[in-house]
């Protein structure tokens, strides 16, 4: 009976796996390999010189490292990579500072209220990312109410002192506006995994800590925070990784000071019309992202093992 049935299952099975598999190989892996190939080729006069040429049945490989050498020697690229990592890091820290207490208090409110609060955090997900970034343009530009508020409270002097803006009063197109925009758009990515983690915590552990003489403050730092470590890692990576390669926010809210690597790739391709160079920059960016990604995956796998 089972031997009779098996072929049917087998057909359905191979189609269900095969179609998305083939799709991913074609539209995710193949483009990626093409980028890798482009990164070791050079621009000819108009078109890209092919790495591989077939002449008289002989395959010739002409791998050029000039793009990578150029990236290594030109300070602009190093600067852009460093900027990207720095702004992504600052954004992640800010999201954590705002998001952790937020998720914590959300997980401790009345159970009946929590689905509504969760829905309210999710809702910005559904509204356009582009429009959320654009909204800050109106707030921080000259005459915007947040800009006026910051200037009236003289907080702009503090920001200038911190080096987030160049001169007091000028808030747009500065590292400040960039970081605010990215924090705003990525905050839900921090809150959601933290909330998922904190709402599952066993509250009896806190009772036990208090029975053993810990003050709420001590219990928070020595019980709650270590237990939510997986959530902290997940949220931080979900904010950090996309921020490194961000393009829209630096373009709309950043300034000449805040060159990020996403913009470099875009400009190499569109303005300089140099896909090989853009590809080389992209390959290095992928290598930069692989490390935090590996950390993220390890923690996800560990968290899954613990639940199952």
């Amino acid at each position: 009976m089972t031997t009779l049935k098996k072929p049917r299952w087998w057909h359905g099975r191979s189609a269900v796996i095969g179609v998305p598999y083939a799709w991913l190989l074609m539209f995710f892996l193949a483009p990626f390999l093409i980028v890798a190939k482009y990164s070791v080729s050079e621009m000819g006069t108009i078109t890209v010189q092919d790495v591989m040429t077939v002449a008289d049945g002989i395959v010739k490989l002409a791998v050029k490292y000039s793009n990578f050498i150029f990236i290594a020697t030109d300070g602009l690229y190093f600067h852009a990579y460093m900027n990207s990592l720095e702004y992504a890091f600052v954004t992640t820290v800010l999201c954590l500072i705002i998001g952790y207490p937020f998720a914590y208090f959300m997980a401790r409110t009345k159970a009946s209220l929590q689905p509504t609060l969760l829905m309210m955090v999710m809702l910005p997900f559904w509204t356009s990312f582009l429009l959320r970034v654009y909204a800050w343009k109106g707030l921080l530009d000259e005459g915007g109410w947040v800009a006026n508020l910051l200037i009236a409270t003289r907080l702009d002097h503090v920001l200038a002192w911190l080096g987030m803006i160049e001169v007091p009063g000028q808030l747009m197109h500065t590292p400040f506006s960039l970081v605010v925009g990215m924090t705003y758009t990525y905050l839900p990515f921090m809150i959601l995994p933290l909330y998922a983690n904190l709402s599952k915590m066993d509250l009896r552990l806190l009772e036990a800590a208090s029975d053993l003489g810990a003050t709420p403050w001590v219990a928070f730092w020595r019980v709650t925070v270590p237990l939510s470590f997986a959530g902290i890692v997940a949220g931080s990576m979900l904010v950090f990784i996309p921020c490194v390669g961000e393009y829209v926010t630096p373009e709309l809210l950043g300034g000449p000071q805040t060159l990020m690597i996403g913009r470099v790739i875009w400009d190499e391709n569109f303005s300089n019309n140099d896909p090989p160079m853009a590809s080389a920059v992209a390959v290095i960016l992928v290598l930069l992202i692989v490390v935090p990604l590996a950390i993220f995956n390890r923690y996800q796998a560990e968290a899954q093992e613990r639940t199952s």
């Binding site: 356009s128 970034v133 905050l187 709420p216 390669g245």
Partner: protein, 288 residues
Amino acid sequence: MSRGKALFSATFAKGFGRAWLVGGFLFLYLPMITLVVYSFNKSRLPSTWGGFSLDWYAKLINDTEIINGLILSFKIALMSATGSVVLGTMAAFSLVKYRRFRGRTFFSGMVSAPLVMPEVIQGLSMLLMLVAVQRAVGFPPRGLLTIWLGHLMIGMSYACVVVQSRLQNLNPQLEEAAMDLGARPWQVFSLVTLPMISQALVSAWLLTFSLSLDDVVVTAFLSGPGATPMPLVIFSRARLGLDPSVNAVATVIIVAVAICVGLASIWVVRSERRRAAEISAAQRADSA
């Protein structure tokens, strides 16, 4: 003494918690509210309130660039949401139901990679591949079709995540029971599995629809002359500075999305409730 202190800190913590939540929600919502409010501003500048007006909406109707962009974007979003849900469901089904097949780890890595890969890289890589294909066979031209392929690639991953988490929580005994009663695999899927994951399919569809409607970077890499979808129109105007017409479009989009999400979540809650009622009715009948 110590009891009084503890009480004080408890009420303080409660107040502090509430204030933090309120502050967080203000941070999340005030910028959007401001955006909507200024779409009704008669004045061009955000610094001055020139009185309430619908001028920008009136201008929107005659703005062919925006109207055409909106139509094109809706077409692409419809196509990519539908395609993403089909492909994403297949991928999720493979990952959840088939625990073992050759290259499974590699497959699951590829499915989730687009979620974290910077969009600039995805757009660039897709563009370079399509250019290579175009040079070889003269097809496809850059435009609706190429944008659709790009959105499909990202949307599939999101759809897969949503459907996967639902499939993992399903009770496998229901499908096994159907098989024991003689249903063919396709019948098991369409009569048992599909109704149970329908809510996840709806939310995956809505999510990929709104992602497609919103995407700037991949769209910019893959669009061609004459095909300028909505996000590119908004982006190019926003780049030049503040533009009340952008606020007006934004308001229209936000309201439309809010209505869709609201209706869908009402539907999800209702069908959830109905199913719970049916299950408890069945259990009662069983025990009687």
